[in-house]
Assembly symmetry: C2
Homo-oligomer: 303 residues x 2
Amino acid sequence: MNANYADRLDAAISRAGNACLVGLDPHPSMLPEEFAAARTSPSRAERAAAAGDFLCEIIDLVAGQVPAVKPQSALFEIHGPDGAAAWERVVRAARAAGLLVIGDVKRGDIDSTARAYATAFLEGAYSGDDARCDAITINPYLGTDSVKPFLETCGRTGTGVYVLVRTSNPGGGLFQEHGEPPLYLRVADAVVEWGNSLVGRCGLSSVGAVVGATHPSELALLRARMPATPFLIPGYGAQGAGAAEVAGGFLPGGRGALVNSSRGILFAWREPRFAGMHWKDATRAALAEMIGALSAAASATRT
Amino acid sequence: MNANYADRLDAAISRAGNACLVGLDPHPSMLPEEFAAARTSPSRAERAAAAGDFLCEIIDLVAGQVPAVKPQSALFEIHGPDGAAAWERVVRAARAAGLLVIGDVKRGDIDSTARAYATAFLEGAYSGDDARCDAITINPYLGTDSVKPFLETCGRTGTGVYVLVRTSNPGGGLFQEHGEPPLYLRVADAVVEWGNSLVGRCGLSSVGAVVGATHPSELALLRARMPATPFLIPGYGAQGAGAAEVAGGFLPGGRGALVNSSRGILFAWREPRFAGMHWKDATRAALAEMIGALSAAASATRT
């Protein structure tokens, strides 16, 4: 019996006391010097291993402090099979450290292909139970029948999905705001409907939504429209949003949302204000800052 | 200097004399008995290798007869790192056999993440030049800034993309038909615009569109609206469309489109009409049928 993802998420946020989601995006060019092999080694296996080494150290730094991490698939896929091995190693390490793992894969396809993606990322059948993700991001463009296979897998395995609804990039509106009502509201309503059959005891669904923090008014609007939907909010930190911008995404008590920062945590040592610090100390300081800021924002929602 | 993808595509279609795109979707449960290890072996490496063995035989069967093949990423990803290794082996084998390779990966993300996907699939930098795809499928939901990194890579490496515009699945209309004009026309216009800077000497662009064959009237409408856009048309055969349904997707002379069949070719031996045939003979017969039907449909467009 696998516990519902939403229940596990709600418990993890409550246990950590904050909604920080640490994005694991191992850009080879940005890693600290001690992991320079990720960009300089002539061996792909060594490059991938160095990226994995770095992320395992990050996992050690953040374990026990945040509820979840979000590895970014693209930065592993650049290393081919060696990157896929590093992915499994990082997922295993994060789960062993008690962190929820949200695989940022943004997959989307139809029928048996969608089912294969669900199998690849959310089932233990092929990768081993310890190397599957607790949830993944998916793309809704192909419609309900492209999402159904993921929902079936989520129900069976106690996992979740976060559907792209409104993204934080400057050009995100081109198609997402198309029509009247804008497409993203149509997608939001579909997400609510898809989620109805996967509501946990905590009252939240295992079908979440990716909602960018660079649109605070939309965030509050979507929060009201999707009261049982867990949000994954990107755009914090390096992408420009602060705690005030994400506050509208929380449910009362600071529940129901994860706020992602990737390079703001991983590569904090590159920021002028942390100049001279060891990269680990810079990461610790940046994480403490983010936790403080988010906790304050969440407190403002406390019932 | 890398030749423009559209020019290479146009030459490949002309050389083969048909527009068949063989989809390489190695569903473990459907492979012929001699590749049963793909579903029965306790070793993931052996399962992935059996899937790769099967596809390498398919490549031998279709080489010289069709312009291109389309491996489906999900069916490799289920095998983790071993699947990624099988992917590279299959891409290498297809390219060595003179086939164009269109990676069906449907990726889509922003900024440096999109760039990493482009690097992973379209550059030789990490995988070796012989293991990169000639083109990949991408998802447009995140807008222009999510597509730009792919376009830049295509221009530099002589590769292409096929943007999901109108998909062939029953539920594809839910979001793709949203608004007035429907979203897919808005996406189609963006595809044309994105493609303007990547037009080859043949007059076609390296920025293509995925347009389902299950909507023949839309196919003709989009063909008229996107006169320089290569089409990738799924939905033929197992998904229900015949040669008449795809005819509207061709430019005069049978140019400008690839028509995909996956299980109709790979798993032809499972169809009652080929009962008793060796799987290779069934695949040969199904391919000959499809080539004949498509050639007839393309002839009808000859100027």
